[in-house]
Symmetry: C2
Subunit: 112 residues, 2 copies
C-alpha cells in the first residue's frame, strides 16, 4: 500500500480537507458537515492523511481534533525546488535540442 504525501494530496477531497483545516483543528463530524460526503468517507480520508503524517490528532473527551502538520508539505515544496527555475526560463530548448540531434545524425552519415 503506497502511502506517501503525493498520493495523499492527489485526491481533491483531501486537498479540500487540508484547506478547511488551515486555520483551526477540526473533528471528523465538523469536517463531514462541510462536504456532501458521509462521516465515514471523511474519516477514511483522515486516516490516510494521518498515515502519511499530514495530520496529527488530539483526543478531547469523546471528540478527536485533527490538525494539519504543515511541515509535512515541505516535501512537496522540496520536490518542486529544482523545477522552479525551469518554469521561469523563457526559452524553449526543445527546438535547439532537436537541431543538435539533427546535426549529429548528418555528421554520422557523412563519416560513413
Amino acid at each position: 500500500m503506497r502511502r506517501d504525501i503525493f498520493q495523499a494530496i492527489a485526491d481533491p477531497t483531501r486537498r479540500a480537507i487540508i484547506s478547511l483545516m488551515m486555520m483551526q483543528a477540526m473533528t471528523p463530524n465538523a469536517l463531514a458537515e462541510q462536504f456532501n460526503s458521509s462521516r465515514q468517507a471523511v474519516s477514511k480520508h483522515i486516516r490516510i492523511l494521518q498515515e502519511c503524517g499530514l495530520l496529527k490528532s488530539k483526543q478531547a473527551g469523546r471528540e478527536i481534533y485533527y490538525q494539519v502538520e504543515f511541515k509535512k508539505l515541505k516535501e512537496v515544496d522540496h520536490w518542486l525546488e529544482p523545477f522552479r527555475q525551469m518554469w521561469e526560463d523563457r526559452f524553449d530548448n526543445l527546438d535547439k535540442y532537436l537541431a543538435k540531434i539533427q546535426k549529429e545524425k548528418q555528421n554520422a552519415k557523412r563519416k560513413k
Copy 2:
C-alpha cells in the same frame, strides 16, 4: 476520469520521468530504457502527463520527442502558497484552540 496535475505527480514513476526529462526532451524508448518498465508502460505514463498538460511533444521523423512543460508545475506551487507561512510558524495552536473550546463549554454550563 480525473486528470489533474496532482493526480499526475502522485505516481513515483511519473515524477521520475519529469526529473529525467528536466534537462532535455526524450523519446519514449529512451525513457523506457532508464526504467525497468516496458515501453508501453512508460507510454501510458507519457499519455497521462500529456493529457494534463505536463508534457508537450514534437515529432521528428518516426521519433517523438517529449518535453516537460514546467510552467504547469506552477499549479502545485500555487496550491502550496497559503500553507507556506504555516509551516514556518513555530507555535502549535492546537492546544490553544482546545483550551478556548474548553473555556467556552464551561461558560455555557455556568449560564444554565
